[in-house]
Structure formats: structure tokens, C-alpha cells
């Protein structure tokens, strides 16, 4: 794991000329079953809705209009900004951002601690962090719901300790959704930071200490710039899936904790049944995510120069 690739391997040209041929299956599969679907969904967002699901092939801006503008109950008032859906997106961004910060607060020290252990010990810690990452997200979310139910083990435990007199109503709150997001994506934060810290050359810290830097000064001025790519990668890996999360808001939250994922799902599977609107909301989510990734890619190429 340490050391990376020998320089020669990546320069190999053994299968020269066969590159495109070998990549063809990947192009075909991802092209047909991901790129094309997203393209068709983009088209759907400009179509007219059919009641109880489906679309009519008539082009219209109605879905985006409904998303951003409020034209009154009968659609004839002067348009004003519609805050309902922008509000849902805003709450999602806020929840995802908060989850990212919390994951960073716990994830950074954890990654740091693991990366500074001896090699043998390191792989065991890493394994322990990785296992929950691969446990079914649905099961993890259900477990969290079970834990914090009104009559769940957490409340029973706190009641028995005498910390609280009445069970805390945790389920169906923003707090529960936040807890669910934090819990779901915490390993996503630890792993990339670990990878960055593992590559960090600790003689740099020694040099800083020799020059009378305090440990916090060393952390802030020497270490952080080096491990920053790992931190940024971790933040993206937590933020992006949190933003579009469906299970945590659906199972741990209630009607008041609606997030983008639930909004989209309801348009296709739920009572709302407005496919163009769901497609438009998906496109807006995709735009935000691609924007974040693009900013990240730009910053990365800038940093490399």
C-alpha cells in the first residue's frame, strides 16, 4: 500500500493500440445505461406532466416555472419567487453541510490517529473503520432508528440512569436526520484523510518542532496544507451523497424534514406524480453536485501547477 506504483508500470505500452477496444464495454454500458438516461431525464424536465405519472410529449418550461416561481393558486397572479422548493434545497444543503462539518470534526482526528500508528496496527484500525462502510446503508439507518426510538434502547438507558424523566422524542426531527447523515457517511470522511496523512512525511513536523513551532502551529501551517487534498476529498464524499440522501430523511425524519431526495422520490413514486417536476428537481440537484465537483477539479489542477 505504501510507496505507490513503481514508476515503470504506468508507462507500459504492452497493449498499445488496444486501449480504446478494451474500454469499449465500459463506454457502452455506462454510455447507454447512465449517460443516455440522464440525457433523457433532462428532456423530461421540459415535458408536460400527465396526471398519475408519465409525460405528454409537449415542450414547456412548466416544471422549472413551478420550481422557482409562484403564480398564485389559479396561476394568474404576477409571479413572485416560490420559496417552498428553494427552501427544501436550502435545508438539504444546510443539513449536508452540517453533516460534513461533524464528520470532519470526528473523522480528521480518527484518520490522523490511525495513520500515525505502526503499520500492523494501522491496517487493523482501518479494517474496523471500513466494515461499517460496507454494511447495507438501509440496515444502518434502520439500526439508528431502532436505537433512538421513543421506547428504544437509548431512551431506556437514559431513563434508567435518571438523566431524563421522560423519553426524548428524537425520531422525526431534524436532529435525527442529521444524526442519520453523520452516521451514514462518517467512514467516507476518514478514508481519504487517512490516505493523505499516510503519505505525509513526518520529518516535516520534526523540522517545524526544531524551529520552535507549537504542535497546533505545526498542524495549522505545516500539516494542513499537505493533507488538504484528503480533507477536501472527504468533505465532497460526505457532502454529495448527504445532499441527495433519501433513506435518512425518509426513515428518521418526518414530513417536516423533507430533503431533495424525498422531494424527487415523491414525484415519481409518491402521491405527487409529477414526473417533469421530479426530473427538473433532479437536474437542479445534478447541477449543484457537478458544480461542486467542477470547483474541486479546478482547484486541484490549479494546486498542481
Amino acid at each position: 500500500m505504501a510507496g505507490g506504483a513503481p514508476a515503470g508500470a504506468s508507462n507500459s505500452e504492452i497493449y498499445k493500440g488496444n486501449g480504446p477496444k478494451l474500454l469499449l464495454p465500459a463506454w457502452v454500458f455506462i454510455g447507454i445505461f447512465l449517460v443516455m438516461p440522464v440525457g433523457i431525464m433532462a428532456v423530461y424536465s421540459f415535458l408536460t406532466k400527465e396526471f398519475r405519472g408519465g409525460v405528454i410529449w409537449e415542450f414547456t418550461w412548466a416544471a422549472y416555472d413551478q420550481f422557482f416561481l409562484n403564480r398564485g393558486l389559479f396561476g394568474d397572479e404576477p409571479p413572485s419567487i416560490e420559496w417552498t422548493y428553494i427552501g427544501i434545497f436550502w435545508r438539504s444543503i444546510w443539513q449536508a453541510g452540517l453533516a460534513t462539518v461533524l464528520c470532519l470534526l470526528i473523522g480528521f482526528p480518527t484518520a490522523w490517529f490511525i495513520a500515525t500508528r505502526a503499520a500492523k496496527e494501522r491496517s487493523v484500525w482501518l479494517f474496523l473503520i471500513t466494515v461499517p462502510y460496507w454494511v447495507n446503508l438501509l440496515i444502518r439507518t434502520v439500526s439508528m432508528k431502532f436505537l433512538i426510538r421513543d421506547t428504544g434502547p437509548l431512551n431506556e438507558f437514559l431513563l434508567a440512569l435518571g438523566v431524563i424523566d421522560a423519553p426524548l422524542a428524537l425520531v422525526n426531527t431534524n436532529f435525527a436526520v442529521q444524526l442519520g447523515l453523520f452516521y451514514s457517511y462518517l467512514p467516507f470522511m476518514v478514508l481519504p484523510i487517512y490516505a493523505a496523512v499516510e503519505r505525509y512525511d513526518f520529518s516535516l513536523s520534526e523540522a517545524a518542532a526544531d524551529l520552535y513551532a507549537s504542535s497546533w502551529q505545526t498542524l495549522r501551517l505545516v500539516i494542513l496544507p499537505v493533507v488538504k487534498p484528503g480533507i477536501v476529498a472527504g468533505c465532497i464524499l460526505v457532502f454529495v451523497p448527504s445532499l441527495g440522501a433519501f433513506l435518512a430523511p425518509d426513515l428518521l425524519g418526518g414530513a417536516k424534514t423533507f430533503m431533495i431526495g424525498s422531494l424527487i422520490e415523491e414525484q415519481f413514486k409518491g402521491a405527487a406524480g409529477n414526473w417533469p417536476f421530479g426530473a427538473a428537481a433532479s437536474m437542479i440537484l445534478l447541477t449543484i453536485v457537478m458544480g461542486v465537483l467542477l470547483i474541486h477539479a479546478r482547484a486541484q489542477t490549479k494546486g498542481e501547477r
Partner: protein, 269 residues
């Protein structure tokens, strides 16, 4: 390895790491414990019992879970095999074929399933299959799963290929082996740990997926996660905790296998 003195001062870090592990494991462990609860109330402890495990296999909901499990495993094995083949070919192209046009774009494409939010992929897949008039069912689940399994299979395979020096293959080619022979007889055997670990990760990812499956599954077709989700919507029942614990066990076994295989591959170097 010598640890610089100043690093030991972040004393809280060990405690936070333990806290992190506690947070990650506590809900899972608690559900596993309560799945052995004899009581009909799901939180009151009524003694140890395996009755909910028996219920999963013989109870009124057993046929539903059995069918869902068969679907889940069939799709996961099929999707993982397909994704592994595609990813292996792609890894050879990216690591052994030198420079060619579209290489950077190809890497972006392979990683695309990781970047598009899952809910968007789910909705887009549904809309796509309906537009082209493809009946949603097992096949649509399979196709959608192959796509998002590709990057998960690709990552360990490509990482392993980078760490396998190409001198043996070059020697084989010097001795007039065809590229295909050099691949089959030299590179492939060296790649076994990476390919296995890629396959296992793809398998778990497919087995775990709820969101995309829920959109492209079609009426009446269930996988374990969608069946569990349907039940949980009506409240958490003890048999769901038992089935969750079983599935959790499967994940742990596969991750452990993947880890052991990965380590074996490393130590051989």
C-alpha cells in the same frame, strides 16, 4: 517507526477514534443483540432466543424473504461478474496500453457512476427504461447494477495493476507471446487478488443497493433491501432485525474476505 514528540500531544485523538468506532458500531451491535430477544415487545428484553431467525426461514413472511434473497444474490453475482470483466478490461487499457485519445475522458466516465447522486441515477434509469419501452423487472435491476458496480470493481483492480510491475509481461512478449497470451498466462494470475477484491466489493455494493433498485424493479419484484424497506415502513419488527443481522453478517464476511485476499496479495510482493 519513530514517532516525533510533537505528534503525541494530540492526546484527545485516541479517545475520538474510539468514539468514532463506538458511533459506527453501537447501533449495529444493539440491533444484533435485540434480534435474539425472546420477547414480543421489540425493546423489552425477554431472554435469549433464536425464534426470530426461525421466523425468517419458516414464518408467514418466509417465502417473500426467500424470493427476495434469491433475486438479490442472483443479481449481485451476475452484476459483479459483468462489472469485474468490464473493469478488468478497462484497467488493462488504463495501465498497460500507453497513451491514446480519450484516455482522460474514459477515466471520468468510469468514475461517473460515483459522481451522479444516486437518486438522480435512479430516476434517470426509470425514465430511460420507460421511454424505450423496456419492461422493468429483474433485467433492468441487473443492468442498472452493472453500471454502478463498475467503478467499485475498477478501483482495486486498477490499484493492483499499478503495483504489479510489467517486466514479466514484457519478458513474455519478448518470447513471442501474443498480448492475449501475456495477459492470460502472466498478468491475470498476478492480478487474482485485485480482481477478487474488486469482485467482492462490486458484489456487496449490488447486494446493498436500495434506492436504484426501488425505482427500476417493477411491480412484484423485490430484493432484500426493498423487501426490508417495505416492512420497516410499517414499523420495525423483530424478524426484520434478524434478517438485518443476517445480511450484516454477510457483509462482514465478504469485507473480511476481501481484506484478507488484499493483504495476501500485498505480502506476496
Amino acid at each position: 517507526m519513530a514517532k516525533p514528540v510533537d505528534l503525541r500531544r494530540f492526546t484527545g485523538f485516541r479517545a475520538i477514534t474510539w468514539l468514532c468506532l463506538f458511533v459506527l458500531y453501537a447501533p449495529l451491535v444493539i440491533v444484533a443483540i435485540y434480534s435474539f430477544n425472546d420477547s414480543t415487545s421489540i425493546t423489552r428484553w425477554g431472554g435469549f432466543s433464536l425464534k426470530w431467525y426461525v421466523d425468517v426461514f419458516t414464518g408467514p413472511e418466509a417465502p417473500k424473504f426467500r424470493d427476495a434473497a434469491i433475486n438479490s444474490f442472483t443479481i449481485a453475482i451476475g452484476a459483479a461478474i459483468c462489472a469485474t470483466l468490464i473493469a478488468t478490461a478497462a484497467a488493462v487499457a488504463m495501465n498497460r496500453a500507453g497513451r491514446f485519445k480519450g484516455k482522460t475522458a474514459s477515466l471520468a466516465l468510469i468514475n461517473l457512476p460515483l459522481m451522479v447522486p444516486e437518486i438522480v441515477t435512479a430516476v434517470a434509469s426509470l425514465v430511460f427504461f420507460i421511454t424505450i419501452g423496456f419492461q422493468t423487472g429483474l433485467l433492468t435491476i441487473f443492468l442498472a447494477h452493472v453500471v454502478f458496480c463498475i467503478p467499485f470493481a475498477y478501483l482495486p483492480i486498477s490499484a493492483r495493476m499499478q503495483s504489479v510491475p510489467d517486466m514479466y509481461e514484457q519478458a513474455a512478449m519478448d518470447l513471442y507471446a501474443t498480448p492475449w497470451k501475456a495477459f492470460r498466462l502472466v498478468l491475470l494470475p498476478l492480478m487474482v487478488p485485485g480482481i477478487l477484491s474488486g469482485f467482492l466489493l462490486a458484489f456487496i455494493i449490488s447486494l446493498d443497493d436500495f434506492l436504484i433498485t426501488n425505482f427500476v424493479k417493477g411491480a412484484g419484484v423485490e430484493t432484500l433491501p426493498t423487501a426490508i424497506f417495505g416492512s420497516v415502513k410499517q414499523g420495525i419488527k423483530p424478524n426484520i432485525m434478524a434478517i438485518s443481522t443476517l445480511l450484516l453478517g454477510v457483509s462482514v464476511v465478504f469485507v473480511t474476505l476481501s481484506w484478507i485476499i488484499g493483504r495476501a496479495g500485498q505480502s506476496k510482493r
